[in-house]
Assembly symmetry: C2
Homo-oligomer: 479 residues x 2
């Protein structure tokens, strides 16, 4: 886009603020109109959240943020806007008044989306000057991160709206026929109603319901949704088989919500054909591997966040963790692990940056041995790496078990030098080496300083014991 585009946000709550952030951080100018005297604070809070998360989704340069302003009236806000988004309270009479005021003052070619979760476009358009200009553009909270937008309305208008949304990184989904609550909220409402029954009947607490979702099918749905997941469950026999197999459950009391369509041959064929069109270019075996790689990637991504399955995996790692090396007079076995799928690159081997991660983790084990642990860091002291020299000797592949042998070369005062060798465990082949220089720092001043107390004593003893060892052969080879 050469010209700067402008969005008018009518209603500056969590949803309106999310829309404002999505447009601004994609380079649009944004003007917000909301009679709430607190609107600037509220939009500011949403925007602060968006600024720390949305640009970080990108691995390339991001657009320059647009200009944000506030208008005293709807008339002023919409006058020259390309996109106008109404996110007023969910009352049809209020929406009618606002939409009329918008159409009185906006360009006739402006796009007017409504964030309504429940109303149909035909309801919104009642009495409108230009009905086909108004459509449903229903987002999901947080609007600045979740990409899907349900679009419902006049076909030609939606085509233009979809182009705009794609350009700002969203996923427009055109709903074929208008219906109360569109698509997603029908699922959310069905689950919500069932959940209310489970809590009311004392079957499960809110925590238990959340856990059964996020440690289970929630992760499936974060990447494949409902039907592609079930296609896999159907196996090589395919989707028709799956539906036939589970069709009878429809008459069982598996939910309090009992209105079900009749599973005719016609409906079975319709689902199976649509599923073939959607996923038929992959075999079930391929879909299984895609699913598994996605799940591993999601679960591993939650480990540094220590949340949900990430927290569970961290607890399991803590249980399986090898004890810290205790014999300081020999080279230290600092790490052993399997190479995961998220460490691979386009050359079909482990990306060079992940060697750095392996050696960083190996260095952390030495930190643990000398007591420079989380408590020490919380006390304001730590070691920072200042230089790494990594030699790549052989390729590392998915599923390889590797281990690291570490030798402390020098530990005097602020300075700590280590040498790491990474080996494939199955055949002992040396895959990479790392000469790592660390400096002890104060986390308050962010400047170097001497280690303190027990850490100083332990690191000095470790350095002295290891200095007596011969240099590793691979280091001598490098000269």
């Amino acid at each position: 886009m050469s010209k700067i585009m402008k969005a008018a946000i009518i209603g500056g709550g969590v949803i309106g603020g999310g829309w404002a952030a999505r447009f601004l951080l994609n380079g649009w100018d944004v003007v917000v109109s909301d009679p709430d005297p607190e609107v600037e604070r509220k939009v500011g809070e949403v925007l602060a959240n968006a600024r720390r998360s949305l640009p970080a989704l990108s691995d390339v340069s991001v657009p320059k943020e647009g200009r944000l302003s506030y208008a005293a009236s709807i008339a002023e806000a919409v006058a020259d806007a390309d996109w106008i988004q109404e996110s007023a309270p969910e009352r049809l009479d209020i929406k009618h008044i606002i939409l009329a005021e918008i159409q009185k003052h906006c360009r006739s070619d402006a796009l007017i989306g409504s964030s309504t979760s429940g109303f149909k476009p035909s309801e919104l358009q009642q009495g409108a000057a230009r009905p086909e200009q108004i459509f449903v553009a229903h987002p999901f909270n947080p609007v600045y991160l979740l990409p899907v937008i349900e679009l419902v309305g006049h076909a030609a208008t939606l085509t233009r709206a979809a182009e705009v949304l794609e350009a700002i990184g969203m996923k427009p989904l055109i709903v074929r026929k208008e219906i109360d609550a569109h698509i997603a909220d029908r699922f959310l409402e069905a689950v919500w109603r069932e959940a209310l029954w489970l809590v009311k009947d004392g079957i499960a607490t809110t925590q238990e319901i959340d856990d059964v979702i996020r440690y289970g099918f929630g992760m499936r749905w974060a990447q494949m949704g409902l039907f592609e997941t079930y296609r896999i469950a159907g196996g090589e026999a395919g989707m028709r088989h799956f539906i036939a197999q589970f069709g009878p459950c429809l008459s069982w009391p598996w939910t309090k919500l009992m209105d079900v369509p009749e599973l005719t041959q016609e409906l079975t064929d319709m689902i199976a054909d649509q599923s073939d069109a959607q996923s038929g270019h992959h075999t079930i075996r391929e879909l299984e591997r895609i699913r598994d790689d996605n799940l591993v990637s999601i679960m591993r991504a939650l480990k540094p966040r220590n949340y949900g399955t990430g927290e569970l995996l961290n607890l399991h790692d803590a249980r399986n963790k090898s004890p810290l090396p205790t014999d300081i007079s020999a080279p230290l076995k600092t790490l052993e692990r399997v190479i995961p799928v998220d460490w691979m690159d386009y050359n079909g081997h482990m990306n060079e940056s992940r060697y750095g991660q392996v050696f960083s983790n190996a260095g952390d084990v030495v930190m643990g041995m000398v007591g420079a642990d989380q408590a020490y860091i919380d006390g304001g002291l730590s070691y920072f790496t200042v230089a790494n020299e990594i030699g790549y000797l052989s390729e590392t592949h998915l599923g390889d078990v590797i281990h690291v042998r570490t030798q402390v070369l020098e530990a005097r005062g602020k300075k700590l030098r280590m040498y790491h060798e990474m080996m494939r465990t199955s055949d002992g082949e040396l895959l990479a080496t790392c000469n790592q220089l660390l400096v002890h720092v104060s986390l308050k001043t962010r400047k170097s300083c001497e280690p303190e107390g027990e850490v100083l004593a332990k690191i000095t003893a470790l350095g002295e014991a290891q200095a007596k060892l011969p240099r590793p052969a691979s280091m001598r080879d490098q000269g």
Copy 2:
């Protein structure tokens, strides 16, 4: 565990095979019994999937895989098993026969779990020799990855079962009262029924339904579930406010499934109190940031998989990508980006390994400039990094915009040497440098070889043009 534990898997389909893999890869011996002549192939296929994914969830060493064997009869399989898992077809008469046979031959202290998705433990236990020994242990496909297990049955038995499941990295969830289809499948069934209506009525295709889930609330549910997500939506006013606000929707036709509990003050209080107990130790603002960091991490994790939101983000990056540098007679601006949350470490700054990733990506831009792109790689040729020397000069923080300036130091024959400087864009501070040595390789032989055709011409021209530039100042400083 000092003694090796033994699991008997009765029924070796996708679910039974998943249980077998979960136990085996956690160091248990496993014996499988299934009359299907294809059982070894089927379990083998599930196990192959599990071996390439489950161990890779761990960042520490993993247990030695247990021994897998097949038994000709249930009697033989269960004789000395610690855990027996029944995953037979979903017919109560078949399950009764199998459970009776199991109890006839197993230890009286063995744990007998059933994978049933629908039956209640009281139904499974009908006519059993030791009813309290039998319980529901309902898993989710793929069993070797998804951790949650719904446990329903006799309290003391479940306590022992939960301990075992935790030790093999799973998330046991004890269901308070038995109910048809336990908890999760009630939600799945409600969504399935609603989805059947939507397809039947021509509102959405299977693809559209999957997309609205996986680009939207599916990602919320992968980390927080239903109630914690809605707690945030309620804002500072809290869960009571949220329920009060959305309570009226319960009487609206937002789903075809219309049986709803009455939203009494008692039920509202019950939900709000449970939600306080679950999430009340975080403010809404904290929960928003946790949610956003989780979502960013999940979406970024799907980028290398190029699936779902990951594919969408890649498309958006391709749209926003800067053109490749064209002036080869000046240092090259190879990269500009924002530092994301998944690159941070426990010291509150960017982890040392991610500098390697930045420089790896910068090197890729030079690859693109000389035509050593995906098509060249698909043709069997590429560059591999053989050595990196990274100097860490200053700290890099969450949200920093950084860029990289690259100079080609040497490009002759197989050898390519580059020097990268990474700067904070806001103030130009030099954060890190990298001296990177690459070698051109054949992906068939995995040995070094000369570049070919246009790549050879372009890399040589680039090397000659850049050789005329003075060495970067930071390089001269390092001597």
